[in-house]
Symmetry: C2
Subunit: 149 residues, 2 copies
């Protein structure tokens, strides 16, 4: 994936170094292709390189965020989820099952514009947690309601 090479370039340009640990974390993140916690990444990365430490994962993610390659969103409960920066998508997070779904950013365009026009507030794309209940959990809740009766 040439994306990784671009990152290496940017990283070096910023005075950073591409180490094997960083390469592992980055490719795990690319491979995951979804929203993962630091611990998820640790597990992925340790499958190959068990010596990599959680603090290295955090520091790598921090470095990648500074580069603008990665972003994170805080779910309600505590752990943050990390993902590659991709301004074409926004996230909706189910507060019951913690699943994260991507939806087109275009859904948010009007809101973004309104907030800027009316409040001079610049929404930070990709750091915008829409919390709610997903389709599955909604159906599940509905079933439980039926059972209760």
């Amino acid at each position: 994936m040439e994306r990784i090479e671009t990152v290496v370039k940017d990283l070096r340009a910023a005075g950073g170094r591409m180490t094997s640990a960083r390469r592992s974390v980055l490719s795990a993140l690319v491979a995951a292709r979804s929203h993962v916690t630091a611990e998820d990444l640790l597990n992925l990365v340790q499958a190959d390189s068990p010596e990599i430490h959680l603090s290295t994962v955090y520091r790598t993610l921090e470095a990648l965020e500074n580069l603008g390659v990665v972003d994170h969103v805080h779910l309600g409960h505590g752990r943050a989820v990390y993902h590659l920066t991709d301004s074409a998508h926004q996230h909706i997070v189910c507060e019951i099952c913690s699943s994260v779904q991507e939806v087109p950013a275009s859904l948010f365009a009007q809101l973004e514009k309104d907030l800027m026009d009316k409040y001079q507030f610049k929404v930070r794309m990709n750091h915008f947690a829409v919390i709610g209940t997903c389709k599955n959990c909604l159906e599940q809740l509905e079933k439980e309601k039926l059972v209760q009766r």
Copy 2:
């Protein structure tokens, strides 16, 4: 404020008790009229009743959330902010100065509808953190940019 008496009723109806600690927390929250952290509340409440403990604040907030009176939002950094439930408003949070502004929920109505129609995703109103940069901080950033040149 009659609102408090309604809460007392609901609390009792749910088998709970209105203690002096809970009354303090609740009125601090009402008086604050904005988005406060558990620690903010602790400080407010301890001005009058220094014996009240942080864990009591958390437990009171939890009880009030179960009653639907209170809700909380997680800012990026860690601490959550609590506020009275008020479905007429939504929050926009500045990630630089941590200020929270209320904006009319109507701004979000279309988005909410779209997410339901297209994804069967039920947005949880009032638990919906819009992170970005507020007017002031945006202006500040602009100034700094000018200075740098």
